[in-house]
Structure formats: structure tokens, C-alpha cells
Amino acid sequence: MPNRSPLLEVRSLHVGFRIFEGHLRVLDGVTLSVHEGERVGLVGETGCGKTTTVKSVLRVLPMPPAKVTGGEILYRGRDVLKMHRHALHILRRQELTAIFQDPLQSLNPVFTIGSQLRDIVRDSMRTPEGKPLSRREIEARCIQALEETGMPDPARIMSNYPIQLSGGMRQRVCIAEALSTNARLLLADEPTTNLDVTIQDQILRKLDRLVDQKGASVLMITHSMGVVRDLTQRIYIMYAGSVVETGPTRQLLASPRHPYTEGLMASVPRLTGRGVSEGIPGRIPNYLAPPPGCRFHPRCPHRMPECSVEAPPMFDVGADQRAACYLYRRPSP
């Protein structure tokens, strides 16, 4: 792990949602960081708060009902949560970008691809002298962005409406939109989950190469172990609103330490075929009244009395690998 200060640093982020029945405490102290040029995976079950984390970083959670109840999100050392509107706009135009899960929902259905792409480039990009781009420059930039994603006949695509494109094509358009402005950090929220399996690999590989070319950093959210193994250098495992384990991708996948990570790995079906795994008993807790202490303890095979009293901090479990579990507490001298 590089030692420079990170590009993105999320510190003990707490986010809740106020609903009719009460207060949903979804994010319970998420801590993670992404360094310049690094690719980081954020892995967990559906509903564990991955998307909420990303939307908090982008500051697009609808508030209310959402409310940040603690923690900070630092981008190059500046707190995104405290930014004024103007600074936030600049941050989104120059630094941050995102790809969402569902390409069918990610493009405005009543405007052409070209209209949307042009407005992004027009409003976000400036010439080196700080002037707006000319019409021809905008057009060229859009075409180039589409071409880079491997889209055939970009000029025609520009005049198409989203409904005229397949899911895979639409996700290519989303990638083009995200990367058209040379953003520095890409937040990719399950970018291939809703695509056909045959297309998934193609799109991921394309995304991989493009990100490499542009030297952007990536926070990739997924529940697919295959995706993180291929694309990321470091991962965070999330469970019920907090990070339970982190480490270099290959090392962590080879030797998971946290009981939840172990269960997660065991539940991935293997081609070698030892039957379908049993998974982890129980289910994700109710966020209205989450279990006290470690949120995993009701499902944990190794639970100890202190697990239900106080959430464990991160303990070192290997080179650069850490897990939030009392199993790895150093015996006090």
C-alpha cells in the first residue's frame, strides 16, 4: 500500500434514514480509503450499505430521509460533507465520476445519447486556457469517448435514444459519460450486475483498460468475488453497515480471517463442484434495531460474550490485512 496520503478517505461514516417506523441506522462507522492510481473493491451482500456509502461520497443521498450522523469523507484532504455548493460542483466536474448498476435507469429516456453526453462535456470541460470548448471540440470529445468504449459507429449512437440501445450498449454509453471528462476517481456501483453474463466480461475488460489508460483510481462495488479478483488490488469486506475486513485482494481471498468473510467465501459456488454450499445461517439484521456490539454476532459461529457488548476495532491479521473481530485480539502482555 502506498504511503502517500489517500485520494479518498472515509472515516467512521455513520448514515441513517428517517422513516415512518423510526430511524434506520444503516452505515455504522464505515472507514475506507483509496489512494491515487489504486483500484479498491468494496464487497458485501445486497443491503449491506455499499451503495449508501458511494452515494454519500457523491453527496447525492436524498436528505431527508437520509442523514449523516457522524464521520467525515475527505477528498484530497477536504471534507466533502462540508463543501459548499460551488465547490461540490467543481469536485463533481473535475474529480469524481460514477457508473451505476442499472444501465436501463442510468440514461435519461427522453433525450438522445448525444444531447446528454454533450451537456456533460460542455458543462464540465474547459480548454487549458479555461475557456469553454467550441462546438466542434465538444462533438469530437463525445465521439472519442464513445469510441474508447468500443462502441461501433459512435456518430450514429449520438443521435439515438437510450431505448434504441441494448443493455450492454447503454452501459458502454454510461462508461463513456463517466470517463469523458477525465475524472480522477471512478465510483463503480456494480457496473455489470444487470448485464448478460456474456457481456459482463467484455465490459469489465474494457473498463479496466480505459481506467488504466486514464490513470484514474477506482472504487469498485460488487458482490462478485470474480470481479474483485480480476480488477482490484485491495478490498474491503462490508457487513451490515461497517467494514469487517480489509487487505490485499489475493491475500485476503486466499486466507479470509473474519468469520463473515470466511462464510462469504464458503458460499461462493465452485466449478470443481462440491455441491452447493450451506451459506451463512441467519440474515442481515434489521437496521431499525441492529444487534448491539458486533452486528455479525447473532450469526457468528465463534461468538464470545464481549461481541454483544462493544463492536470490535480492527486487529492486524496479516501483512496489510486487518479484521474487526475479537478472535484476533492480541493477548494482553
Binding site: D102, V110, T112, D123, S124
Partner: protein
């Protein structure tokens, strides 16, 4: 796109055919002898019989329908038993007056309704949203004639800000009728004074009619904006750095306005037959009042004409709405036009 429009036109023809059958049914099959009604009680049985022959009333229904439709297409709707004039003449006089009024009302409700709807939706749960909700419910709950009387009392009687009744003062010489729209006729005749006076006269009744539609359409737009704002694509527009103004008035408004356009079309056609209370309060010589008078006097030829006009309005407005939506929403265009 041309294919889609022609398809819709064809559909409208079918709708109108069905409508004509229905009206024919009303005109011929309901009790009462049209020949007797045309001649009056004093005519002899032989006279009635002769007229029945002339009117093809002794022929089978399909033949009757043919002759009826032929005279209809020629613009011959018979004579009104109440005004004693050809129904077509009546219509030519009354329809433009009501059209002018409800077009104006629609314009008012569109502008005010959309602006409040967009703002209330964008600033959801703000004081503005709350206030507009309260006023909307009041507007929906108050009958239009009550609003008409209130407005007339306040602005015309108390404040003397607006003239009370009619389209222009009785003393004013009306410009020659070309379009039947007083404001436009005034302009065509080069008489700006008529246009301005007509504008002053139309404001109160048009607003009285518009209130409920402002409220309804504003609410629909608000709901629609709130819904669209939760879409991923709007979030991504923000993330990608598109200017807020552009997001609000381009990317958010266009997908949100589509449900409102449909309702607006229906509201417009609805006013055609339901403006009579307001027309009565403001003594507006309009079609809606004419329709009501025809009903009350069992003026059969006029009733047939009224039903025809209202049905025609609905069919045309629906066609227009579909075409507008086709321009607003490419998914409709591409699906139905075969791209």
C-alpha cells in the same frame, strides 16, 4: 413519425364513426317523432306523413343513417326549436366565444400550474410546497361558480379593477366577425381598443375556470417531478456536473410534464361542456350555456349538435395530445412508429 400520425388519424376516424352512430341513435331512436317536432302540434297528420317521407323517416335505419350523415357532412343540422335559427348558425356564433374563453383558461392553468408544480416538487416539503398544497386543495374543493361570483364581487364590484360581464361592453361596436375570437377579430380590424377591452373581460371568467385545473395539474406535475428526481439518471446528471438550471428545466421537466399534458387535454375538452356555470355568471355568450339551454328546452337538433361538437372536441384534443406527447417522449414515437 408520419406513419404514427396517420395511424392515429385513422383511429380518430373510427372514433368519429362510432360517435356518429351514437348520436344518430340519440336523434332517431329515442321516443318522439322528429317530423312532428319540426312541424309543431298544429300540423295535420298528412303533413307530418309527408315530412316523414321527405326526411326518410320511413326507410330502414341504415338508409336513414346514410341520409342523416350526408346532411351532417354538408353542415345541415336542422333548425333549433328554441332559437328558431339553423343550428349551424348558432354554433358558429357560440363556439368561438367558448373556445376563446377556455383556451385562455388553459393557458393560465398551464403557466401557473407548471411553475408552481415544478417549484413545489423541486423544493419538496418546503414552506412553498406546503402553501401550494393548501391552496390547491382549496381550489379543488371550491366549485368554479363560487370562485366566479367571488371574483366578480371583489374585482368588479369592490375594487372596480375589472369589467363585469360579457365579452365587450354593449355600447362598444364589435369588429366584423372573422374568426369569432374577439381579441383576434379586434386585431384583424386594426382596433387595438377592442382587443384590450376583450382581454380585460376575459380575465376573470378564464381565471375562475382555470383555478381547479391549476390546482390539479400543479399537483400532478409536482408528484411527477418528485418521482423523476429519484431516478438514477437525474442523480447521474448531477454527478456528471451538468448545470443545475439545465437539469431542472431540461432533464427534469421534460420527462415529468408528460402525464400533465394528457390531463390538460382532458381538462380542455371537459371545459367545453362544463363552463356553463361560469358563462352564466359572466353572461358569456358561449357554447356551454347554449348546450345547457338546449338540454333544458328539449331542443333535439341543438342537443345532437352539442353532443357532436363535444365528441369532436374530445377526439381532436386527444389526437393533439398524442402528437404532443410523441414529440416529448421518444419512447412512444419509436415504439409505435416502428423507428
Amino acid at each position: 413519425m408520419a406513419k404514427y400520425i396517420s395511424l392515429r388519424l385513422l383511429q380518430s376516424v373510427f372514433v368519429l364513426f362510432g360517435l356518429s352512430l351514437l348520436i344518430f341513435f340519440i336523434a332517431r331512436v329515442v321516443p318522439g317523432d322528429p317530423a312532428r317536432q319540426a312541424l309543431g302540434l298544429l300540423a295535420s297528420q298528412e303533413q307530418v306523413e309527408r315530412v316523414r317521407e321527405q326526411m326518410h323517416l320511413n326507410d330502414p335505419f341504415p338508409v336513414q343513417y346514410y341520409y342523416w350523415l350526408r346532411s351532417l357532412l354538408r353542415g345541415d343540422l336542422g333548425v333549433s326549436s328554441y332559437t328558431r335559427r339553423p343550428v349551424t348558425t348558432d354554433l358558429r356564433q357560440y363556439i368561438p366565444a367558448t373556445l376563446e374563453l377556455i383556451l385562455f383558461a388553459t393557458l393560465i392553468s398551464f403557466i401557473i400550474g407548471q411553475v408552481t408544480g415544478v417549484l413545489a416538487g423541486y423544493f419538496r416539503n418546503s414552506w412553498f410546497d406546503g402553501a401550494s398544497r393548501l391552496v390547491s386543495y382549496l381550489g379543488i374543493a371550491t366549485p368554479s361558480f363560487v370562485i366566479a361570483i367571488l371574483l366578480l364581487f371583489v374585482f368588479s364590484q369592490l375594487l372596480k379593477l375589472a369589467p363585469g360581464i360579457g365579452r365587450i361592453p354593449i355600447m362598444m361596436k364589435a369588429p366584423p366577425t372573422r374568426t369569432g375570437f374577439m381579441m383576434i377579430d379586434g386585431l384583424l380590424a386594426g382596433r387595438l381598443d377592442v382587443t384590450l377591452t376583450a382581454l380585460k373581460h376575459i380575465l376573470l371568467p378564464a381565471f375562475s375556470l382555470a383555478v381547479i385545473h391549476i390546482a390539479q395539474e400543479g399537483r400532478i406535475t409536482r408528484t411527477s417531478i418528485v418521482e423523476t428526481m429519484q431516478k438514477d439518471y437525474i442523480t447521474l446528471h448531477k454527478v456528471h456536473g451538468i448545470r443545475t438550471g439545465r437539469i431542472l428545466f431540461k432533464y427534469l421537466l421534460r420527462p415529468s410534464i408528460i402525464p400533465t399534458v394528457t390531463v390538460m387535454g382532458l381538462d380542455f375538452a371537459f371545459l367545453m361542456s362544463n363552463a356553463f356555470l361560469v358563462e352564466t355568471v359572466y353572461m358569456w355568450p358561449g357554447f356551454s350555456r347554449y348546450a345547457m339551454t338546449a338540454m333544458l328546452n328539449k331542443d333535439l337538433n341543438a342537443i345532437v349538435a352539442v353532443v357532436l361538437v363535444i365528441g369532436l372536441t374530445f377526439a381532436l384534443v386527444n389526437l393533439l395530445v398524442d402528437i404532443i406527447i410523441m414529440f416529448l417522449d421518444p419512447t412512444v414515437r419509436l415504439r409505435q412508429g416502428g423507428a
